[in-house]
């Protein structure tokens, strides 16, 4: 598995990417295309817009400030009346999206950098998440809220958040954290057709990863994990970009003769606990790699579920690799120290098997 994310982080144009792993990918199988994650996002957005006239996009930073933002221009040209540009007023425009969803539209609202979700957090948590329940099911909020989460390099404390754990602590919101072009496209189709608010967290460092995507339309159901790599010695659970870290770690471990299974839950809400329990039942060991801060993070919840339901299967303590419990620092050596990495996963796995 290549790691083409450096060019995205630095803002280089992927069309002249120097990373040979991107350019020398094998040709696609019949009926499949080789697409970057960003192209998978754009495909899902285009398909959603084409399939339902009530779908609207609000905001234009789906691809951050990476060169992939040209894909937004393409969407605007294809659907000129379907994209709305809000002022920088997240309370106002996210709330507008919620009200539009209540009233018959299916908005996809982009909050851009995930750290900005805290501006309209009350709209998301108090209004969108609660409305269906507190109206006794009378009102539905079919919308998607998009962010680019995580440490993208140099974002420091206010442009690097991974708020998905906080929102997992909020009943009423579904959460998708895709890790591949195929998954983001297929999950997005499901999200747009869902009658609930769906929080869609992408990671800008995923945009350049290339994978096979079926040419036919595909809807990937929520709550169904995928085993991204089969193995027998240890289960590594990752979400979003951390699936890539887990796969890199598995490759390194394979050279040592350690067989790691990589499980990608794909959605946090609903969450496929079963697939993880089955995997741990086979491997007896669990390492979770998660970009939320460690305390009460996504990894903490997964660890608790496995400890509660598969304690007898565990042959070693559960290990969490997460972002350190400090604000994200700016300087690169400090940033590297706090963020989860393949090397940290490898070290954790070796410690369990040592």
């Amino acid at each position: 598995m290549s790691s083409p994310e450096t060019s995205a982080a630095l803002g280089a144009d992927p069309s002249d990417a120097s990373d040979p792993s991107v350019m020398s990918d094998p040709p696609a199988r019949a009926g499949w295309s080789r697409l970057s994650y960003a192209e998978g996002m754009a495909l899902g957005l285009r398909e959603a817009l084409a399939s339902d006239p009530t779908v609207r996009l609000m905001g234009q930073y789906f691809f951050g400030l990476t060169p992939w933002r040209r894909l937004t221009v393409d969407i605007r040209e294809r659907f000129p009346d379907r994209v709305w540009d809000p002022p920088i007023a997240e309370i106002g425009y996210v709330g507008t999206g919620i009200g539009a969803a209540i009233s018959g539209l299916r908005p996809i609202v982009d909050v851009a950098t995930a750290s900005f979700i805290f501006q309209p957090f009350s709209q998301v948590v108090n209004e969108a998440a609660n409305i269906h329940y507190m109206t006794g099911g009378q009102t539905r909020v079919p919308m998607v809220i998009h962010v680019n989460h995580g440490i993208r390099g140099g974002g420091a404390a206010q442009h690097s958040h991974s708020p998905q754990a906080m929102l997992w602590n909020t009943p009423g919101i579904k959460i998708m954290t895709p890790s591949s072009a195929r998954d983001v496209r297929g999950l997005l189709r499901t999200a747009v057709e869902d009658d609930n608010p769906v929080f869609w967290a992408d990671h800008a460092k995923l945009f350049d990863y290339v994978d096979d995507v079926p040419d036919a339309e595909e809807r990937i159901p929520f709550g169904v994990a995928e085993i991204k790599r089969a193995g027998t010695d240890v289960t590594i659970v990752g979400t979003s970009l951390m699936v890539r870290r887990a796969l890199e770690a598995a490759e390194i471990l394979a050279a040592d003769g350690i067989s790691a299974e990589v499980v990608d839950p794909r959605t946090l809400v609903p969450f496929d606990t079963e697939t993880i329990l089955e995997s741990v039942g086979r491997t007896g060991r669990l390492v979770i790699v998660d970009e939320c801060h460690q305390s009460c993070g996504v990894g903490a919840e997964i660890a608790a579920r496995v400890a509660e339901h598969a304690f007898d299967a565990l042959r070693a303590p559960i290990r969490r690799i997460a972002t350190a419990d400090v604000p994200i620092p700016f300087g690169r050596p400090m940033e590297e120290l706090v963020e989860p990495s393949a090397a940290k996963v490898v070290t954790a796995v070796r410690s369990l098997l040592g």
């Binding site: 108090n126 329940y133 609930n196």
Partner: protein, 317 residues
């Protein structure tokens, strides 16, 4: 005096709200209902003046003091009281309660317990109607306490920017929770904020239901003609505390007595010459509330079986 097309209908609805809210207060005092109750006694003129200017398709978003708005829009008093009493047969199955009333079929879409949280929702509703062409206006009612929030200002800006078919209805009762508005802002008339954003604004006597109705009609006409949002500031006064049980020590008794003289129902009766009809209208309202009370207190409490339902919406087959 301003003439209105349906004076008796408006009077009966104001009496219904008054009788309903007084009953809620009594039930609370007798420990027959619980919760954080915010009553609209004294503010009936705004709710009814507003409702009589709207069409059924228009979508009203209320706040924490919304019983009056729901009733004004036509919510069933029995189902509303059941909800306030936490009963399974209430509008929200007992899951919402007093601050989260929703009766969408009446055009009262939803309410929020978070000050100003409802304002952007009405923007979205107005936006949706511009897409669907259903002609439904977005309407949002909030108190003067909302005027100092970011949600309020972001929403005014967006509504003006996009020319949304919308009415902002500010019920300025002079008190944000437990302190006078002057302790919250230097801006005495919140309509001035609307002027900043280029939104036509008017300040009316909120205890004059006919004046409220006239202002609403102007705003409705503007919005339906594509003229964008209107801001209506209705000056009024709540004759009860911020919540039931509020000792209200921040208000002078003389002020309360003064406003009781401006009671919106008495004012409307006098202005519209309804002295002969008013006693019977009040009696009908109180009979409706008596029946609603009997039904609500006999209704089953919200069942624990429903605890985990409706957390997320199921797909519609």
């Amino acid at each position: 005096m301003t003439s209105v097309p349906d004076p008796l209908g408006m009077l009966e609805r104001m009496w219904l709200i008054r009788a309903f809210e007084e009953r809620v207060s009594e039930l609370y005092a007798r420990n027959q209902i619980a919760g954080l109750l915010h009553l609209g006694i004294g503010q009936e003129g705004v709710a009814v003046g507003l409702a009589w200017g709207l069409e059924p398709r228009d979508r009203l978003f209320g706040g924490h003091r919304a019983h009056a708005h729901a009733l004004a829009r036509g919510a069933d008093p029995a189902r509303l009281l059941m909800e306030i009493a936490g009963r399974a047969t209430g509008y929200c199955g007992g899951k919402g309660g007093t601050m989260h009333i929703a009766a969408p079929e009446t055009g009262f879409v939803t309410a929020t317990g978070v000050v100003a949280g409802n304002i952007p929702l009405a923007l979205g509703s107005a936006y949706a109607s511009t897409v669907s062409g259903d002609g439904a206006l977005g309407v949002v009612a909030f108190g003067d306490g909302a005027g100092q929030t970011g949600s309020f200002h972001e929403s005014l800006n967006i509504a003006a920017l996009w020319g949304l078919p919308l009415l902002f209805v500010c019920e300025n009762n002079g008190y944000a929770e437990f302190s006078p508005l002057s302790a919250h802002t230097k801006v005495e008339r919140l309509a001035r904020h609307a002027e900043t954003y280029g939104i036509p604004a008017v300040t009316v006597d909120g205890n004059d239901a006919a004046a409220v109705l006239a202002a609403v009609r102007d705003g409705v006409d503007r919005a339906r003609a594509g003229g964008g949002p209107t801001f209506i500031e209705a000056l009024t006064y709540r004759l009860r505390g911020h919540y039931e049980g509020d000792p209200g020590k921040y208000r002078e008794l003389s002020e309360l007595a003064d406003w009781k003289q401006k009671d919106p129902i008495a004012r409307f009766v006098a202005d519209q010459g309804l002295e002969a009809e008013s006693p019977a209208a009040e009696a009908r309202a109180r009979a409706i509330v008596d029946a609603a009370t009997d039904a609500a207190l006999a209704a089953p409490h919200a069942s624990v079986d429903q605890l985990r339902t409706q957390v997320t919406a199921e797909a519609v087959a």
